[in-house]
Symmetry: C2
Subunit: 417 residues, 2 copies
Amino acid sequence: MTDQTPQARLERAKEASRATAALTSADKARVLEAIALALLADAPRIIEANGRDISRGQQDGIGESLIDRLRLDEKRVAALTAAVREVAALPDPVGRVVGGHRMPNGVALEQVRVPFGVVGAIYEARPNVTVDIAALALRSGNAVVLRGGSAAHDSNAVLVDIMRAAVEGAGLTAEAIQTVDDFGRDGAKALMHGRGFIDVLIPRGSAGLIETVVTESTVPVIETGAGNVHIFLDETAPDDWARDIVVNAKVQRPSVCNAVETVLVHRQAAPRLVPLVASALESEGVAIHGDDMVVGLMSNVIPATEEDWETEYLSLDIAMKVVDSLDEALAHIRRYSTGHTESIITTDSRNAERFLAEVDSAVVMVNASTRFTDGGEFGFGAEVGISTQKLHARGPMGLSELTSTKWLARGSGQTRG
Amino acid sequence: MTDQTPQARLERAKEASRATAALTSADKARVLEAIALALLADAPRIIEANGRDISRGQQDGIGESLIDRLRLDEKRVAALTAAVREVAALPDPVGRVVGGHRMPNGVALEQVRVPFGVVGAIYEARPNVTVDIAALALRSGNAVVLRGGSAAHDSNAVLVDIMRAAVEGAGLTAEAIQTVDDFGRDGAKALMHGRGFIDVLIPRGSAGLIETVVTESTVPVIETGAGNVHIFLDETAPDDWARDIVVNAKVQRPSVCNAVETVLVHRQAAPRLVPLVASALESEGVAIHGDDMVVGLMSNVIPATEEDWETEYLSLDIAMKVVDSLDEALAHIRRYSTGHTESIITTDSRNAERFLAEVDSAVVMVNASTRFTDGGEFGFGAEVGISTQKLHARGPMGLSELTSTKWLARGSGQTRG
C-alpha cells in the first residue's frame, strides 16, 4: 500500500464508513467473529512479528514496563480474541432511540444513535489497542484509521493485515480498517488535520502524546488516559482499607493510568497510617517520595520535590504528603490532578460526600481502589480509553461513546408560523 | 476592568465556577430572575447603547440583514427577559443520575450530570446571544466567558454590566460572568488557548468565524450553526407541500442558519414544480440561481455557478438544481451540505426512509420546513446554538448539552483482584 498517500487512506475510510454505517447488528457481529477466528488462526504469525518488536525494544533499552506493554504471547492473543468476541456480543448502540417527542404542530421528532463515521486513533506501545479499537469502531458502525507506536510497528502491521483480510472475507470492504503507520510522522499529521474525514480522534498514551494531539489537531479530539491519580487517607481511614487500597492501587499494575501516584494523609492520622502504608508499599518494592513529615516518620524515604506532585510515575514509585485537612487535600488535588480518578478513604460520611461533590475528576471514589476505573470493570466490554475531558465522554468509554446522534423529523407539510 | 489581562478573567471565571457548581437549582432560578428583573429595569439603557451600535453599523454600511440581527428594541428586550425566565423554569440537568449499577464486588457506581465548569462563547452580531448564553450557562451551573462581535460592542458591554450587577445582588459572585470584549483579538485568542480554564468553547456566527475557532483552538470546541441547508423535491412531492415548505424555509427568516439555501428538484417533477415553486419564491422577492434546466423553465433566473452550490446566502437568494434521481440528490448533499439540516418532500415512503438513513446531518426531515431546527421549536427553551459536529452534541443544544457527567464510586474497602 506504499503507493498511497495518508490522505487517500482517509478518503477510503470515509467512503467505507457509508458501508459500515449501513450494516445491521448481525452483520457487524459476523464481521467481528471473522476477525476473532483470523487472529486465532494467525497467532503464530502475530507472535513472530511481536518478537521482532520485542527484540528491537530490548536492543533500544526501552525498559521493562514498556516491554511488558508491548508483549503479545499466546495467552494475550487469546485474550485479544476473547475481547473481540465480547465486543461482538455487546448490545449495538446504533439505532437506539434516545429521545423524541411530537411537536405541537404534529411533527414527530426522534433522536437516534448513529455511528460517528470515521474514528481515528493515535496510540503508543500496546498492540492490543490496534485490535480493541478496530473491534469497537466496527461494532459501533464506524470505519477506523489507526496510527500505532513505532515500537509495535511489526505487530500492528500484521494485526491490521489479518483484520483487513478477515473483514473482506466477511463481505465488508477491507477499507473500513486503515493504518497510516507506514507514513511515520506524516500519518499522524494527516489524522490530526483530517477535517471532513476524521469525525473523532482518540489519542492513547503518554501525557506528551496526548498534549501534542490535543494542541495540534483541528479535528475533534477526546483526551484520554493521563492519570496523576490521588488517594486521600482521611483522619478516620481504617488501617486495613488504607493499606490494602493504596497497595492495590499502586502495585497491581503500576504501568497503567489508573494506578495511584500520590497519597495524601491527614495530619491526625499520619503517625498511625504513614508507617503502616509505607512499609506495606516498601515490602512490595515501591520507592516512596515523601514530604518532610513523611521523611520524619520513615527511613528510606526520598525527599519529594515539586516535580513529584506533578509526575505520573507509571512505575513502582509513589509520592506521599501529609495535609492538615480535607480542604488542603482538595486544594492539592485541584492543583495537580489530571482529572482521571481520585479516591478518599474515610468513614466520615460528610467528608466522603464533600469529596465526591468537589473533586472535579472523571471518576471520584470513596473507599475503593482507583484501579477500578476501567471499561472492563465498569462492564463495558473492551475499552476505547478513559476520557479525562468533559466534552462528549468522561471516564471509561465503551461502545456508546463511539456513536453520535441525529434527529429525524417526520412531518406532513408543516411550516413555521 | 481595563487593568486586567484576558488570562486574569479566565482565572476568575474558573474560580467562580466552583461557586456556580455548588448552587442549588433554586439558587440558580433566583439568580436568573434577578437578571431578568435587571434587564427589564434597565431596558432604556440597553436600547440607548444598542442605538449607538446601530448608528455605527449604518455608517459602516453593514447591510440590512445584519442591522436586523443587531437591533434591540423594547419588544426584543422583553423577549430576552422572557427567554431568561424560560431558562430559569427549565428542569435543572445538574445532579440528574444518568446511569449506574453495582459492580459484582459491591462497589456502587453512579453516573451523574455535572456542570462543565467554564463555558466560553465567541459570537457575532446578535447581542441577545450575550444574555441567552449567560442564562443557559448559569442555569446549568457554569461560569461563562463571553466574546461578542465588535458590531454589538456597546450593547454587549451594557448587557454584561447589568447581568454582573444582578448576579452579585443575588448573592453569587459577579465573576461568574466575564467578557473579554475589551481586549479585541487578544480576548478571542485567550479563549481559544485557555486550556485548563475553558472547558468548552462555542463559536456562533459565520462559517469563517467558526472555521477560525475550530482550527485555532486548543480547548474543546462545539461547532455550531453554519447551515448550507438543502430541500429535495422528490418526484412525488405534492404541489402545496413543495411550494409552502420551500417558501417558508427561505423567506420566513432568511438571515438564520436553518433557512434553506439550495433546492434540488427531481427531473420528472421539474416541469411541474420548478415554475410553481420559483414563481412563489419570486413573488416574495427571492432571487433564483438555477442550473441550465431551471434557466430553461423560467425567465429571470440567474445562471448558477459552482459557488452557488457552496454558498450559505443568508439572504433572499436561493440555488435551484434539477437532479436525475434520489441518488444524485444524496450525492449532491453529501458534497455540499454542512451537516445542519436537510429535508425531503415526498410521499414515497421508501425514498423518505432512505433519505432519513443516508443523509448525514444533525437534523434530517421529511415533509417539514427546515426552519424547525431550533432549540425553541424542539422544546429546549433558549438555545445555545445548533451543533453541526458529531462529538458531544448534534443539532439544537439545550441545557443538558452544557453539562458533562462524572462517575461516583462508593465502596467499602474493595481492591482489584
